[in-house]
């Protein structure tokens, strides 16, 4: 009996969790790759991701306005914490971009970092697989699946009826009120476009029209005197055009990196919660918190790094030191 003593808390917790999983069955996951429509606000179709985005924005505004309401020269409490965060981000930006550009580079990527981090954590905290209330809709998916296998769909519908006592009629599925904003392509695409357009703006600010010289490299081919030099110049032209293409590919990469990570995490949590209720999903939520932070950080640090690349011209390598 003594040997069992250290393990007792774990056993008790496991028993409680198992009991919970019996009383709160998690239903068959219905995951949609696009954010689902909730209601109309005039001509605007409000999806669940958009609603969550608004809530997150409101939360961030409230947090920062509360933190900076009574500004002290010697910060304490919430103000201290916020200053610590922003200052840490500022120093990190400076270590990547150098002291010259840090004041210009800081604002947008740091805002995106805070916003994306809050959005990811909110989407996770609200517990998509566990909080099963929302609207009932007879959505397009039901009709689609009906042709493929009508039986499993109706099964899912009946199973969904007993989640938290929230009921949906047969053939309908629950559309949750909340969805992690990053699990909506519109959100990540908007952020990616903003970041990437800003990179071009910084490039023109730093190098003027010469910024275009990064992409259209014709000086070597113009001054070529032999066939070999001409071929080398041709390679330069090609490399420049590839560089131009990569500016557009970066938007796609930004978009799908954030979207894929968060959406995949959400689907994984749904599926695991369906297979092994609550017990197996708990450590994975910890992992997803880590992923939420890392993805926000990667978005931020990559945008700062690309800005730094954009403002450094061809020849001036000494600026990097």
């Amino acid at each position: 009996m003594n040997k069992l003593k250290p393990a007792a808390p774990y056993i008790i917790v496991a028993l409680i969790l198992m009991g919970v999983s019996v009383f709160l069955p998690v239903t068959k996951p219905v995951s949609s790759i696009r954010a689902e429509h909730l209601f109309n606000l005039g001509p605007l179709s409000v999806t669940n991701a958009l609603l969550t985005t608004w809530i997150v924005t409101l939360l961030i505004i409230l947090l920062f306005s509360f933190g900076t309401r009574k500004m002290n020269l010697q910060p304490s409490g919430l103000q201290n914490f916020l200053e610590f965060c922003v200052e840490g981000l500022y120093n990190l930006t400076e270590s990547v971009s150098g002291p010259k550009w840090v004041s210009k580079f800081f604002a947008v990527p740091a805002t995106i970092f805070i916003f994306v981090l809050a959005a990811n954590l909110f989407g996770l905290f609200i517990g998509i697989p566990l909080v099963g209330f929302g609207l009932c809709e007879g959505g397009h998916e039901a009709a689609q699946v009906e042709t493929a296998n009508a039986e499993s769909q109706s099964e899912a519908a009946t199973a969904q009826a007993n989640r938290f006592g929230f009921t949906c009629e047969l053939g309908q599925h629950i559309v949750p009120f909340f969805r992690a904003p990053s699990a909506d392509l519109n959100f990540t695409f908007a952020l990616a476009v903003i970041t990437q357009v800003l990179a071009q703006v910084f490039g023109f600010m730093a190098l003027g029209v010469g910024y275009l010289g990064k992409f259209f490299v014709f000086d070597k081919i113009r001054s070529a005197k032999s066939v070999g030099e001409f071929a080398l110049g041709l390679i330069d032209v090609f490399v420049g055009l590839l560089e131009l293409l990569s500016e557009f590919v970066k938007v796609i990469a930004y978009t799908f990196r954030l979207f894929g990570n968060i959406f995949a995490g959400e689907v994984m949590l749904l599926v695991i919660a369906f297979l092994v209720p609550l017990i197996a999903v708990t450590p994975l939520i910890g992992f997803e918190i880590f992923v939420a932070f890392i993805q926000a950080f990667v978005f931020y640090i990559l945008s700062v790094a690309f800005y730094t690349v954009a403002v450094t011209g061809h020849g001036d390598h000494e600026e990097a030191h």
């Binding site: 799908f256 990196r257 979207f259 894929g260 990570n261 995949a264 689907v267 640090i301 990559l302």
Partner: protein
Amino acid sequence: MDLETATFLGKLLGAGLAMGLGAIGPGVGIGIATLGALQSMSRNPEMSGPVVTYMFIGIAFAEALAIFSLVIALILLFVI
């Protein structure tokens, strides 16, 4: 086998293959990135802070490829 069944089968096969094959390269890449980071950190523990930062950036790049194949798999399953 009629066309509908064949399409369904193709979707499942394509999604599985896309994710499975697409995860090989990034797996190797993440392994190499972590290997290099660990080696440099064990040689010079004072530099571990920046090394971890750059390691995560490299891992994010490698992982992005796996995520792309995941997105393709999801598109195959849900959209097309």
